[in-house]
Symmetry: C3
Subunit: 205 residues, 3 copies
């Protein structure tokens, strides 16, 4: 599998898990099936859309390739039917969000580096791709944004983005391996934060 | 009248009715005249602005043609003077919003199809043009977004967008007639939803 | 000093003062150091980012010149260490915001005029550059948007934008002098509004 193929399928997977988290947020609010699709789609493609608008390096990804939209619509409708079978909707939401965060932090950075963005810009794009979708989801639904909770969230996205930006292109490392490693690192940190309630020290002076 | 002319004047009308709804929302909050203009303009051009940014098919409409801005400013100031004469500001707001929704759902789809977007993308653009302005208006003013109310709202926009996308370009139908028909359908559904409190079944499992 | 140089350094200064206001807003909410950087950066570059996306006249400023990002990061971290030394964080926030408002209202207008935008569009861009950063900051942090407070805020931005747009390019006036004059005017009006609680008449009928 080439790196481009790996990136493409991981990207679809990231959109799908974020779409699940969006549809589950609509379920929490007892909305209708169209709202499931709406929030699934906004959460799924929101971060990448902002990234593509800012980078100005070609069309927005879901306009160029409509498969992303169909994935969002399909996953959101599946969530409508399957959510009642879940023991804990909130916990699936949190873990789907964590998976999307880990995948998008690295994918956003990779896309920006591919568009010749400077490293600091690529890291910002990664963090933004990973957090903007969930930010819109939570703001629109009047939930407290997961971004602002004291638990480590942006830090995990920063770990994924920065580790990929630093290691990618190093000649003795395989690009696909670096990609998976950075995603695993971001996910592990976010998972630890959820499980152990890790947090950075707050401003308290 | 050519289709292009019909589209242009309908577009100005849609911007104007959304601007009225924005200015009336400012009236509800007892804001000053500049806030009337601000919310009138944001609501009037918000949806179309997002559509144009995403489509990347030329300049944003109100930058290319400043008449749209002047319409927003003029309509908002007129609302400042005329709102006290209204029996029920809220009901005018709701109906102006419904008219804007119906017009923009079809116009946004038409603009996207004109920019060679795939049908599913064009439908998304139509729904987005129709709902984004009112979403910003309600979010900024801390009103409960009309988008999230259980009443049919996005469904009406979807009806307008999808019916136009499916019927436009069919050789035996007049494009102008399809345009007006799709708008009338979206408005009728939204009107029925307001009058009869129609709603899709909610998630309640 | 050429006008371009003056514009560049004033722009960096405007980004820095807005970044301070963003980081101080994070301090008010007792967030962690990464949130300081996040809100400092969003507030610092938010308005100019929207302006550049809408104008479509080249890359977004902080992607083309990463110094803006480093300024935001540096200023936000400095705020993390220095905020405890401040007597009144809220009052520094308000005045940093006022300085950013005055600078950006004029700089946004100047950039839009430089991109050959019509005068009304340039004024809108100035007002938007000046107010969008603080709007996102306040919305994300669940603070009441300073934009919506009855005190004069948008009016001051409008004064800066409109006076620059009208006076710039007049052959008998020095462009740098017009720039500083318009900024001083906007700042003076905003300062008077803060100190004297000036406001436009509200809608109250």
């Amino acid at each position: 599998m080439t790196l481009a193929t790996l990136l493409y399928w991981t990207d679809l997977l990231a959109v799908a898990v974020f779409a699940i988290s969006g549809a589950l947020a609509a379920a929490e609010q007892k909305l209708d099936v169209l709202a499931f699709i709406l929030f699934g789609t906004i959460t799924g493609v929101g971060g990448g859309t902002l990234r593509d608008l800012l980078l100005q390096a070609g069309p927005v990804f879901w306009i160029a390739d409509t498969r992303y939209l169909w994935v969002c619509i399909g996953v959101s409708m599946a969530t409508w039917y399957l959510a009642p079978l879940l023991r804990s909707r909130v916990s699936v939401l949190v873990w789907a969000d964590a998976a999307g965060l880990a995948l998008f932090s690295v994918l956003g950075t990779a896309k920006a580096l591919g568009a010749q963005a400077p490293v600091i810009v690529a890291v910002v794009m990664g963090v933004m791709s990973a957090s903007f979708g969930s930010l819109i989801r939570d703001t629109l639904l009047n939930r407290s944004p997961v971004l602002l909770e004291p638990e480590i969230y942006v830090t995990a996205a920063l770990l994924g983005a920065a580790s990929y930006a630093l290691l990618a292109g190093m000649p003795w490392l395989d690009d696909g391996a670096v990609l998976l490693l950075a995603m695993a690192g971001a996910f592990a940190l976010r998972a630890a934060a959820i499980a152990l309630d890790l947090r950075l020290p707050n401003y308290r002076r």
